[in-house]
Symmetry: C2
Amino acid sequence: MEKPAYKIALLGAGNVAWHLAPALEKAGHEIVYVYSRTLANAEALAQNLKAAQATDQPDFSQTSADLYIMAVKDSALPELLQAAVFPENSLVAHTSGTLPLMVFEPYKNIRGAVFYPLQTFSKNTPVSFRNIPFCLETTDENAMLLLQKTAGSLSEQVYKVNSEERKILHLAAVFACNFTNHLFGISAEILQQNHLRFEMLQPLVEQTVQKAFSQNPFSVQTGPAIRHDENTIQTQLQFLQTNPTYQQIYELLTRSIQQKS
Amino acid sequence: MEKPAYKIALLGAGNVAWHLAPALEKAGHEIVYVYSRTLANAEALAQNLKAAQATDQPDFSQTSADLYIMAVKDSALPELLQAAVFPENSLVAHTSGTLPLMVFEPYKNIRGAVFYPLQTFSKNTPVSFRNIPFCLETTDENAMLLLQKTAGSLSEQVYKVNSEERKILHLAAVFACNFTNHLFGISAEILQQNHLRFEMLQPLVEQTVQKAFSQNPFSVQTGPAIRHDENTIQTQLQFLQTNPTYQQIYELLTRSIQQKS
């Protein structure tokens, strides 16, 4: 694959920027600016980069970058967007999974876009971008081409996803990640209260995930609910009687599994 | 680690036996017999082994093995146990996660045990035993030593787990595996109905699992519920209105997450 080298300015020095900036450099791009409200944070990130200038002033009027990436918290974006000054017709992309493209609507002098890596980032956990899906959105065709080349230089999974679809992705992620994490928490709590280690379940959980992504998850459902094993279901409900919420979750998910079978 | 070589007879030629038998051989043990109700199945498995004799007769009275492993379905075990004939004082272990040690109670001439690998097996998916937790139970001290050596020759994770604890492990696995798989199914369905691919969520799900097992899952909870992001919660509930069960699951899990925070 050809490696297009773009000049990229990064607004934000948090978890996303922290991983994205070096990855973009490694892919051949040049990070020209790192902005953060806190200069020390911008400097800390810029230090790890070849030629990035750190700044706490979001005035980019005298700069020229092919792409301005706003990797800040959802709650901080509107304010920063209002404060920032970009050269006329700049391509400015945010990295949020939830903010619509519409946030750029009031700013007619720039081309707004979404450059959203579908993954959670934490500073100390290394990330391989190769398999991270990038969800891209913009109404400008040339801008889309540039975003696709940029994302494609990082990852093999690049998708056009509009704001409506991003909402659906987010809902699906709530079920597949947020809610499952809560079930892991309940499972861990049950084990810990009985002096058993949650780690014992790790191989089984990992296998469950592999199976779910290799086939339709509903088609590989196992357990007492799908077997209509009333004996086990009643015993397990009985065990949960000290926690009515967990009992309700057990009953409702059992019923939902049985509805699907 | 010393590699003790035991003579082992396998009763069953299903998924568990199919993976366990060659792994035991590789660990230095000798599989001397493979029993199956269907001779062809016993033969098919024995063919892959060095010196195993296939049989469809559960009469082991003229044999001498250090360990008889009954790797059959829960529903088939009681009948096979009644039909089988073992030499006096034989060590006979089942591989079930749900059957209690008590199933051996009526058979005073043998030493009953549990040799339970905490993983699901399917014939065509290769398995590495190294990380699979083995849950062992028996009342006989020498028998426990032999089971520990056998399990220890396969895996680095060997646990003494009594029948009551095994029940709790099973309940925890229902939450962490069966119920999460159902949530994966709902997530995949929502995406597919909107022409989006479930595979897009795989990196995020895998990261969620890694995080959940590296810290307390409750402490790494993310999403609209824990943020009390009522706006997103209401929008997402609205989206689910055509499916009352999914709506109920969303409401209940959101409430449960908030109770824990």
